[in-house]
C-alpha cells in the first residue's frame, strides 16, 4: 500500500488557501458524466486533466453536485497511483523502474536526478519546473533504462545523460521565464511557500 502518499496532506491545504481555483471549469465534465454508472474514476481523471492535480475543493464541489461521498472519493484518489493530491511541476519526470530498467541500473538515474534537482522521489523542485517520480514500467523495455518527460521518452540513458536532458529543459525554461517574468514569479512564489510549509510539516 502506498501509505506515504496520505501523509503528505499538509502541503495541499496550504496551497488551496493561496491559489484560487475556478471550480466552474468542472461543470462540463460533471454534466457529461453525471448520469453514467461507475463515473467516479473518469470524473477524477477529468479533474486532474483540468488542474494538473486533484484539489480537495474540487472533491468537495463534485461531492456537492453529484451526491457522491467524500470518503469514497478520497478512498479512490489515494488508492490509484495516477491521482495526485498536490500540484506538480511543469514537467513530470518519470523514471522507469521496471524490471528491465532495474537490471540496467535505473537506480543510478534516479539518484543522479535527485542530486541534481535537490528533491526527493515524488517531490517538486523549488522553482516548480520539475516533479521527479519513479514509475513501475513505461513499457519501453528494449530501450532500458528509460525516462519520460511530458510525452517524450528518453532511452538508453546513463545518469549523466539524464541530467543533461533535464539541464537543457531548465535552461530553456529559464530563458522563457525571463520573457514572461510576472506570470511565472507568482506561481513560483506560491509553490515555494507551499513546499517550505510542507517540509516543516513533514519534520
Amino acid at each position: 500500500m502506498r501509505i506515504e502518499r496520505i501523509e503528505k496532506q499538509p502541503e495541499v491545504k496550504e496551497l488551496i488557501t493561496e491559489q484560487k481555483i475556478d471550480l466552474k471549469l468542472l461543470d462540463p465534465l460533471i454534466k457529461r458524466l453525471s448520469h453514467k454508472k461507475g463515473n467516479l474514476i473518469p470524473l477524477l481523471q477529468g479533474t486532474q486533466d483540468i488542474f494538473g492535480y486533484i484539489p480537495p475543493d474540487a472533491l468537495k464541489y463534485i461531492s456537492d453536485e453529484l451526491g457522491l461521498k467524500m470518503t469514497d472519493m478520497y478512498g479512490v484518489v489515494t488508492f490509484y497511483a495516477q491521482f495526485k493530491l498536490k500540484p506538480v511541476g511543469k514537467y513530470i519526470i518519470r523514471v522507469c523502474h521496471g524490471t528491465a530498467c532495474h537490471v540496467q541500473n535505473a537506480d543510478k538515474i534516479s539518484d543522479d536526478l535527485k542530486t541534481f534537482l535537490e528533491v526527493k522521489d515524488g517531490d517538486t523542485t523549488v522553482d516548480g519546473i520539475f516533479t521527479l517520480e519513479s514509475v513501475a514500467c513505461l513499457g519501453c523495455c528494449s530501450l532500458a533504462p528509460v525516462m519520460m518527460i511530458g510525452d517524450d521518452t528518453f532511452g538508453k540513458l546513463t545518469g549523466k545523460k539524464a541530467v543533461d536532458v533535464v539541464k537543457e529543459i531548465r535552461r530553456k525554461e529559464n530563458l522563457s521565464a525571463d520573457e514572461n517574468l510576472t506570470k511565472n514569479t507568482i506561481s513560483t512564489i506560491n509553490l515555494t511557500k507551499v513546499l517550505k510549509a510542507g517540509k516543516k510539516a513533514g519534520n
Binding site: M1, D72, Q82, T99, H102, C137, L138, G139, S142, L143
Partner: protein, 592 residues
C-alpha cells in the same frame, strides 16, 4: 504512382527512439523533391533493438532499415529510392539476401502478432485487407452456432494469455451457461507487469484484431456490452483503440443486429485504468470499472456468474482475443498444431534485459528458453555469463541457466516455481544480484498490495524489510528460513493472485540461488557486485599511475595520494559510488 512503399514503425518504442522525426523527414523530402513513393505508418515491427525501423518495399523486394535517423533517412532515400541501390550496411532484414538477424525472424510464428508491423493500425481497410473481420463475417454467413464457436475455441486449446492459463473456451462456456438479459465482455488490457509490453504492442499495432476477438466472444456468450480496461500509461493504445472503435461502429461491426445476425447487439468502450497493478486481477478490475477502489472480491461467485454490475461477465486478456479471429478462420486444428500437449499455439514474449536483440517475439509453445535467448535473442549483451531469466514478473520467478532447457509451456514453467505470466522475459547475466531482484519485486508487490488481506499487506512488508536488510549487509542467520515461512503464509492467506504469487520471486531465488543469499548474510558479500553497501573499492598499486583522476572525481574526498604517486582509498569515507572505478583508465581500481 509507383509501387514503392516506405513504411515507418511508429509504436511507442519507435517513437521513443525518434521514429516520429524520421517520418516527418521522409514526408518532407517526398514533398520537396516531388518523389514518387507511398509513405505509410505502421506500429511495432518487433525488432525493438534496431528502432527506429523503416521498411522499403519495391519491385525488387523488401528491405528493413534499422536505427534510422534523419541523416540516414536522407541517405536511404537518395540511394535506394532515387538511384535504386539499397544501402546494404543499414539493412537489418530483407527477402533478397541473408541478413545477420535472420534467426530473429525464422524462429517465430506470428498468430497474435500477424498484422503488427504490416498494417496501419489507424486504418480499418488495412486490417480488412489482411483477412480482418473475416472471422465474424464467416460466423454470420455460414450461420455458425454459438456452441460451434465455443467448441472451436475449446478444441484449439487456447488458454488465457494473461498468465492464468485457464482454457478460454471453457470460460466462454461458463459465461454462456449463465442466463441473464445483460452480459458483459471485458478485455483486460491493464498490463501492469514491469518488463512486459506485449499487450501494448498489439493494441497499438493491431487494435482491430482485439475488437474482432471481443465481438466473437460477445457472440459466444451473448454479451451486449463490452469494456476494454486499458492502462492509462498507454496513451497511444487508448487513442488507437478509440479510432478503431469508431471505424468498427461506422462499418457495422458494432451496433445492432451485427452483420445481420438477428438480436446480436453490441457496443464496446474503453475504460482507462488509473494505475493500480492489482486491477489486472479480474474481480479487482471489475470493482475498478464500477468506479471503486480496485479491491479483489471473494470467488465464487465467479465473474461468469456474477461479475460487472452483478451480471455474468467474461474477461480475457488482449493477446487471447487477438488469437480468436485467426482460430475461427483457420480452424482449431491449425492452432493446435503448434505447441505441446497441454499448451497449444504460440506465445508472445517481451524479450528484454541483458540480451543482444531485445524485442517482441512470438514463438510456438514448447521451444526452450535457451533457444529464445540464444537463437532469437543472439545471446547475452557483452557475451557475459547467462545467469537466469525472469518469467511472469512480480508473480513469477527466476529460472536459472542450468534449467534453461525448460520448454515454455504453462506446465513446464510452473514446475520450476515460476509462472508463464503474461510474457515478460527478462534476461539476467552474472552482474545481476538475485537477492536484489527478489527485493525489487517485493518492493513492487508491497506497494501494489491493495491492503485487503492481512498477510499480503503486512507479510510482503516484513519480507521486504528482511530482504532490504540482507542487501544492506545486515542479514542474520535464520533470515532465509523466516522468508520461507512468511512466503507460505502469504500464499495461503491471500484472496487474489497478487498475494498468492507475490512470494514466488523470493522462493525461486532461494531455491536456485541460495548460495547468493548465504554470501550476503554470512560473508557480507554480494557475488554479483551489485549491492552497494557490500562492496569494497581498492587501488591496485601496480596499475596506479597517480594520474589523480579518481581523486578529483571522488564525491566524498575518500581518495588520497600525490601526483604520480600510488593513490589510496580511505574506506571509512568511501560511499561506494563507483565513480573511481568507472573513471580509471588504467584498471587500477578493483571492486570486490
Amino acid at each position: 504512382m509507383s509501387n514503392t512503399k516506405v513504411i515507418v514503425g511508429l509504436g511507442s518504442c519507435g517513437l521513443a527512439a525518434g521514429a516520429g522525426k524520421v517520418y516527418d523527414e521522409l514526408f518532407r523530402i517526398r514533398e520537396a523533391d516531388k518523389l514518387d513513393f507511398e509513405l505509410k505508418k505502421t506500429s511495432c515491427i518487433g525488432m525493438c533493438f534496431k528502432e527506429p525501423l523503416v521498411e522499403i518495399i519495391d519491385e525488387s523486394g523488401s528491405y528493413m532499415y534499422g536505427e534510422v535517423d534523419i541523416k540516414k533517412a536522407d541517405e536511404i532515400v537518395e540511394k535506394h529510392i532515387v538511384n535504386l541501390s539499397p544501402v546494404k550496411e543499414y539493412i537489418v532484414q530483407s527477402d533478397t539476401f541473408e541478413s545477420p538477424f535472420k534467426n530473429y525472424f525464422e524462429g517465430q510464428v506470428k498468430i497474435a502478432l500477424r498484422n503488427c508491423g504490416f498494417i496501419d493500425p489507424e486504418s480499418i481497410e488495412d486490417y480488412e485487407a489482411r483477412n480482418g473481420y473475416k472471422a465474424i463475417k464467416k460466423i454470420a454467413e455460414e450461420k455458425i452456432s454459438v456452441q460451434d464457436v465455443i467448441k472451436t475455441v475449446l478444441d484449439s486449446g487456447l488458454r488465457g494469455r494473461g498468465g492464468g492459463g485457464f482454457p478460454t473456451g471453457l470460460k466462454w462456456k461458463f459465461a454462456n451457461n449463465s442466463t441473464s438479459k445483460i452480459k458483459y465482455i471485458i478485455c483486460n488490457a491493464d498490463e501492469g507487469d514491469p518488463g512486459a509490453f506485449m499487450d501494448r504492442s498489439i493494441l497499438e499495432g493491431d487494435p482491430h484484431s482485439v475488437l474482432e476477438g471481443m465481438i466473437i466472444g460477445a457472440y459466444a456468450i451473448g454479451a451486449t456490452e463490452g469494456v476494454i480496461y486499458c492502462r492509462a500509461e498507454y496513451p497511444l493504445a487508448v487513442k488507437r483503440l478509440n479510432i478503431a472503435l469508431k471505424q468498427a461502429r461506422e462499418k457495422g461491426y458494432l451496433g445492432k443486429d451485427i452483420l445481420g445476425i438477428e438480436g446480436f447487439d453490441l457496443d464496446i468502450y474503453v475504460k482507462e485504468g488509473a494505475g493500480a497493478f492489482v486491477c489486472g486481477e479480474e474481480t479487482a478490475l471489475i470493482a475498478s470499472v464500477e468506479g471503486e477502489r480496485g479491491m479483489p472480491r471473494k470467488r465464487p461467485p465467479f465473474p461468469a456468474v456474477s461479475g460487472l454490475w452483478k451480471q455474468p461477465t467474461n474477461i480475457n486478456n488482449v493477446e487471447t482475443y487477438a488469437n480468436v479471429p485467426w482460430i475461427i478462420i483457420k480452424g482449431a486444428q491449425a492452432f493446435a498444431k503448434y505447441g505441446t500437449e497441454k499448451s497449444k499455439g504460440t506465445k508472445v514474449f517481451a524479450l528484454t534485459g541483458k540480451i543482444k536483440y531485445g524485442g517482441l517475439v512470438e514463438v510456438p509453445m514448447g521451444v526452450s528458453i535457451r533457444d529464445i535467448v540464444y537463437k532469437l535473442g543472439g545471446g547475452i549483451t557483452g557475451d557475459k555469463k547467462f545467469k537466469a531469466v525472469q518469467l511472469g514478473g512480480p508473480s513469477g520467478g527466476c529460472i536459472p541457466e542450468y534449467l534453461s532447457d525448460t520448454l515454455v509451456d504453462y506446465d513446464s514453467v510452473t514446475a520450476t516455481g515460476a509462472i508463464m505470466g503474461s510474457g515478460g522475459m527478462v534476461v539476467m547475466d552474472e552482474t545481476t544480484c538475485m537477492v536484489d531482484i527478489a527485493r525489487f519485486f517485493l518492493d513492487f508487490t508491497c506497494k501494489e498490495s491493495c491492503g485487503k488481506c492481512t498477510f499480503c499487506r503486512l507479510g510482503t512488508k516484513r519480507m521486504l524489510e528482511i530482504l532490504t536488510r540482507i542487501t544492506n549487509g545486515e542479514g542474520k542467520e535464520g533470515d532465509i528460513e523466516k522468508l520461507e515461512e512468511l512466503a507460505v503464509k502469504i500464499k495461503d492467506g491471500s484472496l487474489c493472485g497478487l498475494g498468492q504469487t507475490a512470494p514466488n520471486p523470493v522462493l525461486t531465488t532461494i531455491k536456485y540461488f541460495r548460495d547468493e543469499y548465504e554470501a550476503h548474510i554470512r560473508d557480507k558479500k554480494c557475488p554479483a557486485l551489485n549491492c552497494k553497501k557490500l562492496l569494497t573499492y581498492e587501488v591496485i598499486s601496480e596499475n596506479c599511475t597517480g594520474c589523480m583522476v579518481c581523486k578529483k572525481n571522488c564525491p566524498s574526498n575518500a581518495i588520497e595520494g600525490e601526483k604520480k604517486q600510488v593513490h589510496f582509498i580511505k574506506q571509512e569515507l568511501c560511499i561506494k559510488c563507483g565513480e573511481c572505478f568507472t573513471r580509471c583508465k588504467f584498471n587500477a581500481i578493483k571492486v570486490f
